[in-house]
């Protein structure tokens, strides 16, 4: 009875929900593919042929490619760093004995709830002091490792690496660093991949801090989109062409890695 296939009603409700989830993406493309008349009465759900014309206007209005490149540089660097440094600290917390381990890890867990975002004012003052205001370093350096990453890797590595394996590596004369690199890191790969995907998406979407510290000449994609929208008259077929273009990279990532992302969300729920 529990294994019975569900009724059409279940599929219908879920289908409606998924359609609603996808609709704003479609709407963005729809407006971008026509002109503003679709918003002023000539309502339709059929795309027009103006998308590339509007996209070209986006490229003329904001430094789109530069912003795209910057977003990849920032998110890529942050992702590699978060994964490596979190795995390193997570490995130490999970598999090495040292004085103060419990207290230090408790500290990491506590900081999960600390809204560090609220420290942006001194952070901005510091960046201005270093001459980093407007530079990509300013959005990369503060995000190089996260409490969540350390917590996540530690929880995974506790079970994933048998203590005997670490001991055997030590017996063979491996330093702790090599033990981490040859024993810890390979075992951490699945969790590291998920952490990588989540970190990348989070960094890609980051807005408040980049908006504060970057400028219109050297923006990330999100900051560039904000500039596109902030004129006194909002030309929606232009702006939504920008949002459509900006959505394409994450949609590709989602189509390729969606299965893993779903697994990551569900696994995180059980572990956390």
């Amino acid at each position: 009875m529990i294994n019975r296939r569900p009724s059409f009603l279940v599929y219908g409700l879920l289908g409606a929900f998924v359609l609603g989830s996808a609709f704003p993406f479609y709407w963005s493309y729809l407006v971008a593919s026509r002109d503003n008349s679709v918003l002023t009465g000539d309502f339709t759900l059929v795309p027009g042929g103006n998308f590339w014309a509007n996209a070209t206007r986006v490229f003329d209005t904001i430094p789109f490619w530069k912003a795209l490149g910057n977003s990849f540089i920032v998110s890529g660097t942050v992702t590699v760093s978060v994964v490596l440094l979190s795995a390193l600290a997570g490995f130490a917390f999970a598999k090495l004995r040292f004085r103060g381990r419990g207290v230090l890890f408790l500290f990491v867990v506590t900081t999960l709830a600390v809204p560090t975002q609220l420290g942006i004012i001194p952070l901005y003052m510091a960046m201005a002091e270093f001459g980093w205001a407007g530079e990509l370093e300013a959005v990369i350096v503060p995000n190089l490792v996260t409490a969540f990453g350390v917590f996540w890797m530690r929880q995974y590595l506790v079970d994933a690496v048998p203590d005997e394996l670490v001991e055997a590596a030590r017996m063979d004369g491996c330093s702790l660093w090599r033990t981490f690199w040859h024993v810890g890191m390979p075992a951490a790969r699945p969790a590291a991949a998920m952490l990588g995907v989540f970190t990348f998406m989070q960094s890609w979407n980051d807005f408040l801090w980049p908006l504060v510290v970057l400028n219109a000449d050297n923006p990330t994609l999100q900051v560039a989109l904000e500039k596109l929208q902030s004129g006194y008259y909002v030309d929606y077929s232009l702006v939504l062409a920008g949002t459509t273009l900006a959505t394409v990279p994450v949609l590709i990532i989602f189509l390729v890695l969606g299965r893993q992302i779903v697994a990551g969300v569900m696994q995180g729920a059980v572990k956390g």
Binding site: M1, I2, N3, R5, P6, V10, Y11, L14, F17, V18, S21, P24, F25, W27, S28, L39, L88, L96, F98, A113, V114, T116, L118, I120, I121, P122, M125, A126, V141, V145, D163, E167, R170, G173, L176, W177, F180, M201, W204, F207, L221, Q222, L225, E226, Q229, S230, V234, Y236, L240, G242, T243, A246, T247, V250, F254, R259, I261, V262, M266, A269
Partner: protein
């Protein structure tokens, strides 16, 4: 138990004798120092980028500190005195909580319902799960702009649909409640599916036997949902509420971009300005860093208080 290996050098009997002794010392040093080196990057970075700026925010809040000022004047708690009489601050605080309630309550109800549907024995299971998670990967800025358009005052699609079914159009942006609904919709749209998957994971962790036993006792599916599933989801639901509280109280992107002209006032009458948006406006457009710091610090205390309260409730609920 792993790092304390006093006889590490022994593994290689064929090597000459002095070397193991030296290696033993090195290894001992490695055991003692390396774990701290491994965790150091987190603590150094968190201290420099997370903790220090937060504490320094409290310091700045005691000064009349304008951007670029050479010699800010110490004014004690004056910023806080002004803040507690600042109608715009109270409005922002009200808006933040109002948007938070409008976005969390319906979201959790719908997320549980969607999770229950996903928990059925579906064909193409992963496909449905991906479909539900789709909004989560969308760029927040892009989606806020799209929703701003959908909830546009004159020609927005939401109003078009309302008119089509005979309801008079709403000026979403101008009214307090309307703008809160529009912004809450953005939050709900983005996070409901994500939370549904978290709830689904918790549902699947409920042992089958419990359901089967209830089935034998003649409990229908609705009865089983309310008497078994829902109570067993409680810790997960509280987890979802706690995480969305910490994020929800700091909401910024949605109200910032809902105002199309690039302003940060949160509407003509600040009807949808949130606390972080007010902070942003004060610090980076008003250039009053001292006053903005007092806003940040008060919000910090509120977030900590709410998170702490949630934590206490969680502990009691789990027990």
């Amino acid at each position: 138990m792993t790092a304390v290996l006093p006889e590490v050098g022994r593994g290689r009997e064929q090597e000459p004798l002095p070397q193991p002794a030296r290696r033993y010392r090195l290894s001992k040093l490695d055991n003692k120092v390396s774990p701290y080196l491994f965790v150091a990057p987190f603590f150094v970075l968190f201290g420099a980028i997370g903790l220090f700026p937060l504490l320094y925010t409290a310091y700045v809040s005691l000064f009349d500190w304008e951007v670029g000022a050479d010699d800010p004047a110490f004014i004690g708690l004056d910023n806080y005195r002004t803040l507690f009489q600042d109608a715009q601050f109270w409005k922002a605080l009200f808006n933040t909580f109002s948007i938070f309630v409008l976005s969390s309550a319906p979201q959790i109800v719908v997320a549980v319902a969607i999770a229950a549907l996903l928990n059925e024995n579906l064909r193409a299971r992963t496909g449905w799960r991906m479909g539900v998670l789709l909004p989560y990967v969308a760029s927040l800025v892009a989606l806020t702009i799209i929703f701003g358009n959908l909830f546009g005052p004159q020609y927005g699609l939401v109003n078009t649909v309302l008119s089509a079914v005979g309801i008079s159009p709403v000026d979403w942006q101008a009214s307090t409640f309307g703008s809160h609904v529009a912004i809450a919709s953005m939050v709900n749209w983005r996070w409901t599916g994500y939370n549904a998957l978290i709830v689904l994971a918790a549902m699947q962790a409920i042992p089958r036997e419990v359901h089967e036993a209830a089935l034998v006792d003649g409990a229908g599916s609705l009865r089983r949902f309310f008497s078994i599933t829902l109570p067993m989801l409680k810790p997960t639901l509280i987890f979802v509420i706690v995480t969305s509280t910490i994020g929800g109280l700091q909401i910024f992107t949605e109200p910032k971009l809902y105002e199309p002209s690039g302003g940060s006032g949160g509407g003509a009458e600040h009807q949808y300005q949130t606390v972080v948006l007010y902070l942003y406006q004060t610090a980076f457009q008003g250039l009053d860093l001292g006053y903005a710091s007092s806003i940040a610090w008060v919000l910090f205390l509120i977030v900590i208080a709410v998170a702490g309260l949630n934590f206490l409730i969680t502990r009691r609920a789990v027990r």
